[in-house]
Amino acid sequence: MPKKKLPAVITTFCLCFVFWVLLTWSFTAQELIAGAVVSLAVALFTYDFFIHEDALWLLKPQKLGALFAYIGIFLTELVKANVDVAKRCFGGCKDINPGIVKVPVNLKGDYAQAMLADSITLTPGTITMDIAEQEGQTYYYIHWIDVAETDREKAGERIKGRLEKGIRRIWQ
């Protein structure tokens, strides 16, 4: 096995094994050994699809701290946006002004971009529809239920400003 593939296999194995333990929740030796064997087989076949970048990034303490900080930021944004959309729904669904905005994103790496797109989609009021790359700059097409800002830079700042900063701290 080549040297740099070993961390990827180990990470995939750990994730599979943690899920096995969480789902079975029995700590007899028999169950654990069966889980380890199955996890190892799955990891050997799928590490290639699963890990594209540095596999052991989570072990650096400041990255882990940034991840927890991001979870906090994300939850506050989530609650704010949820209350906003719920108000619109209870107000008879008249108070909407939908539009699709093209927003520039300054993040490097597949994981960071996917994480930001998923976070935007999970926040009620905004859905990422597509990701495009033009001349080295990444753009998201975001469906926004209440277009408050038609300028693309400022709209991006309002939709994802805090999320993007948090994610940049995790991945870079």
């Binding site: 969480l22 949820n82 959309v85 719920a86 209870f90 905005v101 999970l122 009620p124 529809m129």
Partner: protein, 112 residues
């Protein structure tokens, strides 16, 4: 602890109700999807968190609580992927909003 569980449960119900009302009343498919994210995030997560706390502290069953938390984690990771694909597929297959949108960069860049 029971009070916290009840508050989370009721908050989840309220957001799920708001999302359901939005799905029925919103004018076009994209806005309906926006309302549906209300259900999957705070609606489902509130109820799941309440269930997990109930399992941990009232039932005393770590097993059940952990499984509920795993369900919540899976919802958080898998749901946006589906929502993103549905929105893109709907737009590409020719579904357009009822009224004219304020700004439509996607329609400008991808003509059908």
């Amino acid at each position: 602890m029971r009070i916290l569980i009840d508050i989370l449960m009721v908050a989840g119900f309220v957001f799920a109700l708001a999302g359901t009302k939005g799905i029925i009343q919103m004018p076009d498919p994209f806005c309906r999807m926006q309302a549906s994210t209300c259900i999957t995030t705070l609606g489902a997560l509130g109820v799941l968190l309440a269930g997990a706390l109930y399992a941990f502290f009232v039932m005393g069953s770590v097993n059940t609580g952990v499984k509920i938390l795993v369900i919540g984690l899976l919802i958080l990771t898998i749901n946006p992927v589906g929502a993103h694909a549905i929105a893109k597929g709907a737009y590409r297959s020719g579904i357009r909003p009822d009224k004219e949108m304020e700004i439509d960069d996607y329609g400008r860049d991808f003509h059908d």
